[in-house]
């Protein structure tokens, strides 16, 4: 059943390619703005790279959170999902995975390219991409809770960021920290295990919490 939802959402994303690209272009624009603001010296940029890329990825995925449920809410498909005999957390996991595929993965693929802009060594690029790969699903999973809670509210976009930002901070710290740890030679094993732990915990809890939030918002 999850497969149906993912297939549908990817189909929708393909039909409306602009949504996918706006998030990706936002990510690229924000990341390439920083050198203009900070100055071009490679040594400084190298230090900032992981933080800038991670914060930009976090903001980009948060921008598109509103769209996970809002289009379904508007045309009544969300009601069908709530009334479907299939368990709602499963459907919500499908929605979150499709959000991750549509917004998270392009960021992960684009990160090494932008990393070069920041003159990151190959090793750091690898660690950065891996940390983003582990971190962006957690962003989508936690963000889905915020999106479900603020369904149909005016000013929903800003509200989601207020709700969800504090919860993103641990992921940001360990995601960006992984790259710094590896460049400092301490190895980023610990960071990846913690990111992996975040991923597992949020995979288990957040679909259930998002489903509960959807029932509350639609009730």
């Amino acid at each position: 059943m999850i497969w149906w939802i993912i297939k549908r959402d990817l189909l929708l994303a393909m039909r409306r390619r602009s949504d996918v690209l706006t998030t990706l272009f936002f990510f690229i624009r924000v990341v390439s703005l920083f050198p203009l603001g900070v100055g071009p010296e490679a040594s400084l940029l190298r230090v900032m790279a992981s933080g800038v890329l991670w914060v930009a990825a976090l903001l980009a995925s948060m921008l598109s959170l509103g769209r996970i449920f809002s289009s379904d809410y508007a045309d009544g498909t969300l009601e069908q999902m709530l009334l479907s005999p299939v368990s709602l957390p499963a459907l919500v996991t499908g929605k979150t995975i499709s959000h991750w595929l549509v917004t998270g993965v392009p960021l992960v693929l684009m990160a090494p390219v932008l990393g070069i802009q920041y003159d990151l060594p190959m090793e750091a690029l690898k660690v950065l991409t891996l940390s983003l790969l582990l971190g962006t699903p957690v962003l989508s999973l936690i963000g889905a809770i915020g999106a479900a809670l603020t369904l149909g509210l005016r000013g929903g976009g800003v509200l989601i960021s207020i709700l969800v930002l504090p919860l993103y901070i641990p992921v940001l710290i360990f995601g960006a920290g992984a790259v710094e740890a590896s460049t400092a030679g301490m190895g980023s094993g610990a960071h990846f295990s913690i990111l992996g732990a975040f991923l597992l915990v949020s995979i288990v809890f957040s679909p259930w919490a998002t489903a509960a939030s959807l029932r509350i918002s639609m009730g």
Partner: protein
């Protein structure tokens, strides 16, 4: 005889019960405050390392404790309200948030003003101060979500979800900030572990914390009563209140 707690769970009886308790708590708060201030300024010795600046501790630490404690209590009542759909517990949770946010802000402000004489800068990315800042954001998130939803029932439940998700994340945030802090800056002088606390200092802090606790109870009870009036204005007992029938 068994006290029928559910009798107090109904907003109406809670309204009057709280009304009677408020004066006692306010008197207790004032007494603790006076005693605490006396200890803070007159009986606590000068700290040989930080001189007189450390006296800010008597405001900063109670505020930090209260902001953390009130968030847990808020999440508890919000959770009860969500699980048992008891309207009163959700009202109490919504009433706690502003006071908790005030204490978090106060803890941040006094932390910064204490940091200035100690480290020469207003803001220090100390692990505890940073987690306090994030806790402040969690409060703001809870309050803005509840403000954005018109239907009170949905607001209560949505607030409860974000409060519970928040309370699960508070320890995670604290330890990740701790890790992040030690990773970058090495062990900085933490705000509280000044060399062995003289008993007067410790007792002063505890009494000020008690004053803050009494104060919170007063403000939360008053605000809960206002929320009860707001939400129950169409019920019979509130209209009786209007005619002054209920003596």
């Amino acid at each position: 005889m068994t006290i029928n707690w559910f009798k107090y769970a109904s907003p109406a009886s809670f309204y009057f019960l709280a009304g009677r308790m408020i004066p006692y708590f306010s008197i207790a708060a004032i007494i603790f405050l006076i005693v605490g201030l006396y200890i803070a300024f007159f009986s606590a010795p000068t700290d040989f390392q930080q001189g007189e600046a450390y006296r800010i501790i008597f405001v900063h630490v109670p505020a930090a404790w209260m902001s953390m404690f009130l968030y847990l209590v808020m999440a508890f009542w919000a959770g009860i309200g969500l699980a048992f759909t008891t309207r009163l517990s959700s009202m109490v949770a919504s009433a706690i948030a502003p006071t908790g946010a005030m204490f978090a802000f106060l803890a941040l402000w006094t932390g910064a003003w204490w940091g200035k004489p100690m480290w020469g800068t207003w803001w220090v990315w100390d692990a505890r101060l940073t987690s306090e800042l994030i806790l402040f954001f969690l409060y703001i998130g809870f309050m803005s979500l509840q403000a954005a939803i018109d239907d009170p029932r949905r607001a209560d439940k949505a607030g409860a979800v974000i409060a519970l998700v928040g309370v699960v994340n508070v320890p995670i945030i604290y330890f990740s900030v701790q890790w992040w802090n030690t990773l970058h800056q090495g062990a900085s002088v933490s705000l509280v572990q000044s060399p062995k606390m003289a008993t007067a200092m410790l007792s002063g802090m505890l009494i000020m914390a008690l004053a803050a606790w009494m104060y919170s109870i007063v403000t939360i009870l008053i605000r809960t009563r206002l929320i009860i009036l707001e939400r129950e204005r169409h019920t019979a007992w509130v209209s009786e209140l209007k005619e002054g029938v209920l003596e």
